[in-house]
């Protein structure tokens, strides 16, 4: 079964890249390079080091922003999920944050925090945090009541109930929120580099577009997607080692 799902994944990638190659060869647009051209640009940038230098720049707001969003987001989400008062106090903020047109807000952030790392981290956080908070809080609220009662009847303290029942029970939805949040964080990091100051990967994209080096531009975009996918897979691996029995439903339910 595992090898079959792997085969299907490879097949799906082959179909996608094949379609890309064909579309590039037709070509659908002069600004659309083929898959192979993009890959050779990618390897060239990896070879001469430009890509690594760019990522050293891009990863700073990304890692800091995603880390803040994950810790703060799960923390606030737990709090909001456990207490009605904090639900009413905080939920509206994150719902507004999620719905806000971020690109339009970036000039305000730049005005307040300048063009440095702070603004970029904030953009990543605004993208990543709401979905983490909202998923965590709803998962916490939906912990099956009988599990909490079970823990209390076997003399669990309030802290035990949170650590040994609520958090593990909520973990699949918390991780789903983390995955969505992290992908949104990647989008936020690139958005910040395109809208605030062109640095890192955003700079490669902006610069190669301005000199019509489309293979490099698509190579940069491809690399960020690849990184996001790898990171999401890592998250999934962490989740399945931490909570083994959780992913599968009950056979007879």
């Amino acid at each position: 079964m595992v090898s079959r799902s792997l085969l299907l994944k490879i097949l799906s990638a082959l179909i996608l890249f094949g379609a890309w190659e064909i579309a590039g060869r037709i070509p659908v647009s002069l600004a659309f390079p083929t898959f192979l051209e993009s890959m050779s640009a990618l390897f060239r940038m990896m070879g001469d080091g430009t890509l690594w230098v760019a990522y050293a720049e891009t990863l700073q707001p990304l890692v800091v922003g995603v880390a803040i969003s994950a810790f703060l987001g799960i923390g606030i989400g737990l709090w909001v999920g456990l207490s009605k008062t904090f639900d009413w106090l905080f939920s509206p903020i994150f719902i507004v944050m999620q719905a806000a047109p971020l690109a339009a807000l970036i000039p305000l952030l730049v005005l307040a925090y300048g063009i440095g790392l702070t603004s970029k981290v904030l953009v990543v956080c605004i993208m990543a945090m709401p979905v983490i908070v909202l998923n965590t809080s709803s998962a916490v609220r939906n912990t099956p009541n009988s599990m909490k009662e079970m823990a209390r009847s076997y003399l669990a303290s309030d802290l035990d109930v949170i650590l040994k029942v609520i958090i593990p029970a909520a973990s699949p939805v918390i991780f789903a929120g983390l995955r969505l949040g992290v992908s949104a964080g990647f989008i936020g990091a690139i958005l910040a580099e395109l809208k605030i100051t062109p640095t890192g990967v955003g700079d490669i994209i902006t610069f190669s577009r301005s000199i019509a080096d489309y293979p490099s531009m698509y190579a940069a975009i491809f690399s960020i997607i690849l990184l996001a996918v790898l990171f999401l897979n890592l998250l999934e691996a962490i989740e399945s080692t931490l909570f083994k029995g959780n992913q599968r439903g009950y056979v007879s339910d």
């Binding site: 099956p144 009988s146 009847s153 076997y154 056979v251």
Partner: protein
């Protein structure tokens, strides 16, 4: 026919010190709704008492009040002479939906109560393994709940309740979510358990046959607001072995009699 009945409220059948659990004048309101009104009941030590009644009669509410999971609006519960203020080590609960932790293996689920009591890991796993064997799940220690059938999952729930060695076992419709054949096996096993373990069992069920089959004492609850209408103590066939109970005339009479008094309350 050897069978004692009285009208509610009931005086204890045995002397007061023979009661492991007593509930005194319990009332429970949910806002406007009166779930239980002035309910007093004695649960004799070492015996199995069933709470039987139509749905909505508050039998699970009463059980959760005894467990300390719900607070009564008024009245009090005593377990071994001590007033209940919350869950305690003297009571263990078996849940209708099993309430297992899906991310934990069978042995961790069974050891959960011991873990909460601060028993060291090696010791609690020894004791858990012992009770897993006792309920007939030897070899499944490292399985996860989703790999087990409904009946096996309830055996895990039962092992968890036995492993903490509480004096009182509270069972909330424990067999209602398992199939008919498994349920019969469970009922037979329960009879042996009551006979062999010196524990007091309080058993909520909506099945008349099940109640008569397993109980030393049956409290019939009637709804809106809930009160004890009768107490029935089937005694004539208690000494018989499991196979012959269902053919005993007294068993059949009691089943009929309970149905006669309940039928008007069933919509």
């Amino acid at each position: 026919m050897d069978m004692s009945q009285t009208d509610a409220p009931i005086e204890p059948v045995d002397a007061a010190h023979e009661s492991a659990v007593s509930t005194r004048n319990i009332s429970k309101n949910y806002g406007e709704v009166e779930a239980l009104r002035d309910l007093s009941l004695e649960f004799p030590r070492g015996q199995l008492t069933s709470l039987l009644g139509p749905s909505g009669c508050g039998k699970t509410t009463l059980l959760k009040i005894i467990a300390g999971l719900l607070e009564p609006t008024s009245g009090e519960v005593e377990v071994n002479g001590k007033t209940v203020t919350g869950p305690g080590p003297d009571r263990a609960f078996v849940f209708q939906d099993f309430a297992l932790l899906p991310w934990a293996s069978v042995i961790r689920n069974v050891a959960f109560g011991l873990e909460m009591r601060g028993v060291p890991k090696a010791e609690r796993e020894d004791r858990a393994a012992h009770y897993i064997k006792e309920v007939g799940l030897g070899g499944f220690e490292n399985a996860y709940p989703h790999e087990l059938s409904g009946g096996m999952r309830q055996r895990v729930g039962l092992a968890r309740a036995l492993s903490v060695d509480s004096q009182v076992l509270l069972m909330d419709e424990p067999f209602s979510a398992v199939d008919e054949q498994t349920r019969r096996k469970f009922q037979e096993d329960l009879l042996n358990l009551v006979r062999n373990e010196n524990k007091t069992f309080i058993f909520v069920t909506h099945s008349i046959e099940e109640a008569v089959y397993v109980s030393d004492q049956i409290a019939i609850l009637l709804p809106r607001p809930s009160r004890v209408s009768e107490i029935i103590r089937p005694t004539g066939f208690r000494h018989k072995d499991a196979d012959n109970i269902r053919r005993d005339p007294e068993y059949l009479d009691i089943v009929d009699q309970i149905w006669a008094s309940l039928r008007t309350y069933v919509e």
